[in-house]
């Protein structure tokens, strides 16, 4: 989906990797109004809860995933003055160090871009229907949701 105007939103759920610079270029090109570009990239860690992780399998609920991300972005657009938004989330088999998720937000000023990017990431963590299965030295294991992630998202309610 090309980003052609200042309110453009890109949502992509994909198996293949993404190129950070390409995504930043999409956020910036023909966008002289926004002076701020904030991006976040999440990657596969080599350890979790004390166990060595060799990779991840990511499952999602096709259809609901896109809808929930759209709703999160609409909320962010209501709260802050932001320009373009891009959210990419990978699914399928991933190995250590690979990129999992990308959130990019542009805005006229940095405060709105920082806040909106963090908000989108915090809500994605607790609302978007993705599930991680870890491949560890002790076998495969579905990750448990973390209380700290729920608390982090709830902070935006106050």
């Amino acid at each position: 989906m090309p980003l052609t105007h200042s309110t453009a939103v890109k949502i992509s759920i994909q198996n293949q990797d993404f190129n950070l610079q390409d995504e930043v270029n999409l956020l910036e090109q023909d966008n002289a109004v926004d002076g701020a570009v904030v991006t976040f990239t999440g990657r596969v860690r080599n350890k979790n809860a004390g166990l060595t992780v060799s990779g991840l399998y990511l499952e999602h609920y096709a259809g609901m995933t896109e809808k929930s991300l759209e709703k999160i972005i609409i909320q962010a657009q209501k709260r802050w003055q932001i320009g373009r938004v891009a959210v990419i989330h990978r699914i399928g088999q991933l190995v250590i160090g690979e990129q999992i998720v990308f959130v990019g937000v542009t805005s006229m000023h940095r405060q709105d871009a920082f806040a909106a990017a963090e908000f989108i990431m915090d809500y994605l963590k607790v609302q978007a229907p993705f599930w991680k299965k870890e491949l560890t030295e002790q076998g495969e294991k579905w990750l448990e949701a973390k209380q700290s992630d729920s608390k982090q998202a709830q902070q935006w309610d106050s």
Partner: protein, 83 residues
């Protein structure tokens, strides 16, 4: 007139089932569906006793008291762990 019920991630693996169809006239709410599924057998009863399970109707997150109707797609899944 049926309701399509789908399961994801650990829940799908525990049930060894990704999708099931329910007669729409037998249930009124998401909670009714859960109760009906739990009655299938002891294993399903145990799996659905997990209070942390989340549910959605037609791709929107809902609570158990939400009403369901024919042709809805109702989903049950564990708390999400993306990002």
């Amino acid at each position: 007139m049926t309701i399509k019920v789908v399961f994801f991630a650990a829940l799908r693996e525990q049930l060894d089932c990704s999708e099931i169809s329910i007669a729409a006239n037998e249930v009124q709410t998401v909670a009714d569906i859960k109760t009906k599924l739990a009655h299938k057998n002891e294993h399903w009863q145990q799996v659905f006793s997990n209070g942390a399970l989340l549910s959605a109707i037609n791709h929107d997150m809902v609570t158990s008291d939400n009403r369901v109707k024919a042709d809805d797609e109702v989903a049950f899944f564990p708390p999400v762990t993306g990002g």
